[in-house]
Every structure is written in structure tokens, then in C-alpha cells.
Amino acid sequence: MSELSERLAPVSEIREKKALPVRPDPETAPRPDLREELFELEARGELIVQRVPEPYVEVTTKFGRVKKVPVDHLWHHKSCGQCGHIPGYTTSILWLNRQFGIDYHDPTDQTSCTGWNYYASATSNAAAQILVMCRNFAAAYETGYYPLIHCGTSYGHYKELREQLVHHADLRDQVRRVLDKLGKPLVVPEEIVHYSEWVHVMRHRVAERQVVDMSNVTACVHPACHYYKIVAEDAIYDPDIYGGQRTATVTALLQALGINVADYSTWFDCCGFGFRHILVQRDFTRSFAVLRKIEVMRDEVNPDMTVTHDTGCVTTLDKSQFAAKAHKRRVGVPVLADSQVAALAMGAHPFRVLQLHWHSTDWRPLLEKLGIDWERHWQEFEEDLAAIERGEKPGLTWEDAERPAIAR
């Protein structure tokens, strides 16, 4: 008998478990809640649980657990892929915060989660990954603000690392020793919250201030894998959206804005990002993004745009279309993040805020369909660029970008 077989549960134990009554009633079924274990560890003095600040909105997750999504006092855990390559994504999130008068902190004491590298190359290990997470959480805790995770991969990665931290005492010891060296406490937030969840709970307030009519637009939604697959718990599900069988984030926002959300058969497929592939083996990424996502959307519902809520998905679905077009594939669907759609609905400037000039697939037909004079806005932005190049201003500020540029 091998060492592995020796560790398997004995038959008597399996029979004992099978003897337990099956509980098919969802109301009485157990609902996994890692917070209970976190609070136990806190009671034992092992770590600090940072509580969700008020005000917060309660939402339901996949298995019915009630999750608190904070509305205010947010520490923006930025995404390296968003800030580096699609900065209108981040700008739109912060613009929305500012429009609603949210008290927030945009930290310089933050690194990325480094998860993209881990999933691409495995040139790290569990302890290092947990420590990067905990260092960021401690930095947020020190400011008194609550972490809002911008990246879907950071969100999923952190949820998985949190489980490993809770379930492996030896990892906790190792993490605590290094944090002691850094002079930082071991802090885990009560809830790990993705920015799209904040957008989700704010959707009706966004709709109240909507100035761009979007009712003539059809959109497909790509739910981000690392948002709801890595750790299925904690993602928002709503019985009113897809009967509670798919995550409600993004779709609920678009519906609140009056957009026609059209379904397509490959909604569960990933975008093709691949982490390593997008950087050094993009033949796979391009093929998957075009053949399994964009062309299927085009053939089945022909949307005006695709909306998603993660760094890699926007990058992949947007950037993969150029080469496919050269091969006469059926592409040409602009790709936006939900934060950009929400900001645009509230009249944000397409270039000062949404920064659409960083996107590759042609967004002009979408803006034209929405009745937005993109040429006028581009001219305004070009004047900004010229002023910067002439040295008349060091750069754009919120003063330049804050005011909605589009009127009802």
C-alpha cells in the first residue's frame, strides 16, 4: 500500500458519512461561510479581521450567503493590467466614486497581487503569494480604508489564498513571521470585494443620473472566470438575473441602464487570456477569443458591444480582433468594462475619462449609435494633448475631467 493510499479515509468512515441524511432543501442546506473561521482565528489572537465599514449593501452570493458590499471609505486596490494598458478602466471607477462623493484612498503603498505572473509562470509559491496579499491588506488597514479589488484575478486569487491561510496553520506561522519583520499586522478583510460588486450595488444610483439613452444598444456580457470560478462562493447571484444560475454582476447594471442584454451560447467559455499565452503565445489567445467568443456573439446576436469586468478579458477580447480582421473573420465588436459603460451613461468624457484611445477595436460606431459626437470630444482631447506637449500644463487633472461632458 502506498503512502497516498494510507492517507485515504477508511471504509468505516465513508459508511458513517453516507449514513447521514441527505438535505435537499436549499433553505436548510449548509452555506459555506469562511468568515466564521476568520472570526475564530481572530478570537484566538491569530489575526485581525477588518470589518466592512458602514454604509454597506447586502447582496446574496451563489449559495445564498449574505455578503456586505461597502459603499464608502474605499481603498482602491488597483490592477496592473488596467492601469498599465487600459487606464480608462481605472479612471472610470474613480470618476464614478467622485461623482457620488465617495470618500476614497488611491494608494501608492500598493503592489499588484502578482497573481498574473503566478498563473503564467509559477515562478512563486504559496507563502510568497499570501504575503503579497497580506502586505496589501495591512497597508489598507493602516489607512482605515476598506480594500476594493479592481482586478478579477486579484479578487479570485485573494479568495483562494485566504482559504489557504485559514486552513493551513504552518502557512499562517510563516506569513506572520515575515509580516513581523515588515512591522505589519496580519489582517484579512471580512469580505473580499470586487469593484464590479460596488458598481452592481450602485447601479440604480447610476441609472438615476443617466444622461445617455442606451435603450437602442444590444450588449453581450462576458462574465470573468476569475470572478466567479476560482472560488465560486462570494460572487453575487440574484434570482432575478438569469434565474440565479449565473452571476448577476455586469448584467444587472446593463439592464438598469436600459441596455438590451443578449445571450449567446458560449457565455461560460473563458476569453482566451491564458496568462502566459497573452504575453508569449498569443496564437492560442487570438484563436480562442475570436472563434469561441467574438464570432459566436456576432453570429448569434450581433451586439453593439461586449461588456466585461476584468483586466484580462477586456485586453484579450479587444486586442485579439485586429489580426482576425486581416483574416476576414467576423469581428468588430467594441469591448468595454462595466465601469466605462456606467461612466459613459452618466456623461463622462469618452477620452479624458474612458480613455477609449487605448482600445484597439473600433468604438466609433458604438458612440455614434448612442448619439455621442465623438469627433468633437476627440478634438477637445487633442487640444489637451497639444497643451501638454507645448508645456502649458503638466497633465490632465480631475478638474479637467470631473464634470460630465455629455448632457441629456
Partner: protein
Amino acid sequence: MSATWSPAKAGRTYAEVPEEEKRRLFEEVVADPRYEDFLYGCYECGICVSVCPSARFYDFSPRVIAQALSREDVDRFYEILMEDIWNCAQCFSCVRCPRGNNPGGLVTLIREVAVRHGLEQAQEALQGYSRVIYKIMLKGNQVSPDMLQPDFFPDWGPWVREFSQHMHTWRKAIPVDTLRSVTDAAWRTDDRTLRELYTIWFETGNMEIIREVDEGLYELLVEIMEEELEARA
């Protein structure tokens, strides 16, 4: 792309590699504390394969990985280690498994072993990737605007060339304080924050992992990081 796999091939591809060597690497994967959370057996239902993006374009099967590990089939495990793991897209669609398996997580564990041992296949899979490792280890960011170069992303269209011509101005035209004008990282990060990151890399043995992948890069990174940490001391 991996070599075509078929049941007839299983276990014969690397017949020259001693059984003990295969088992030693296999046991390293099993010894990872996360292993027990990632594998509970396999129904052979194929749900993981049906949703796997890599299975559509490569000879890759998350089911075969779960099966081989469950059965302690070290010959097949070795083939997976050498040929399959770098095809995984790490999307984790496969965790739809009714048995609660996490084949994507198993791939991560096997990749870690491949990297720790500096296997040629790992180095091959990560060719062209060193500049990303340089960025993530030093800046704490995976990507930055200055990495968007036409030679590296020709398939992203003329947009990349236009961007690279205007990068500095475009970055200045972002109203977010932490992003504005920053081109060598995704955002402005405190020096103290980066020193804390370097401490984490050293304390967890992460730098030794980098050495296995690229010794030259490792030496360069260590020199820069140690200089920074000594300056603080």
C-alpha cells in the same frame, strides 16, 4: 504544442527516465499542502474537458491530469509534467467538477515543481517572458505602458505604434494622480513598499525559484534589490 497523446502512448514516451525519478517528482507535487484541497478522485464524467479552452486547441485534458494523479500513474504524470502543463489557460473553468477537483490548481502545483527543478520544458515555455519577471519582481506590476512596443505586439494593430509614439503625452493625459506620467510601471509605488516586496521575495525563497528559470536575471535582480535594501539599512 504538446505531442499528441493517446492511451497507447501513455507511459512509453519517457521510458528512459528512471521510475524513481518520476516518482520523486510526483511525490513533490503530492507533498504540497494544497494538494489535498485540489484532488478528491475522478468520476471520468468529462465536465472539466467540455469547458476547458485548452482542450479545444491543444492535446490537453484536465480529466487525464486528475486521473493520472488519482491513480498515482507516475509515467503519465511525467508526460503531463513534460508536455501538457504549459498549455493550461489557468481560467479555472474546470473547477465545475462535480467531485470538487481543481485540475487547474493541480497544474499550478506541477508547474511549480517544473520551475523549481529548472526543467528545460519550463524554460522553453517561459522564453521571452523574462522581461515580465523582471518587471513583476522589481516593480510589483506585471505590465507597464513602456512594454507596449510594436515589435512585441504586432498583432494588436497599428494602435500599438500610435501609442508608442505618444506614450508620454497620453500618460500625462490621465487624470488619476497615481497613474499620471508613469510609464515604467502601472502606477506610482512608494520605495518603502517595493523594499517590503523584495523582503517577501527573499524570505519566501522566491528568488531561488527565479534562479532556476534564468540565472542571469536572478543575479541582476538580486543586485538591484540588495542595493535598495542596504540603502534603507
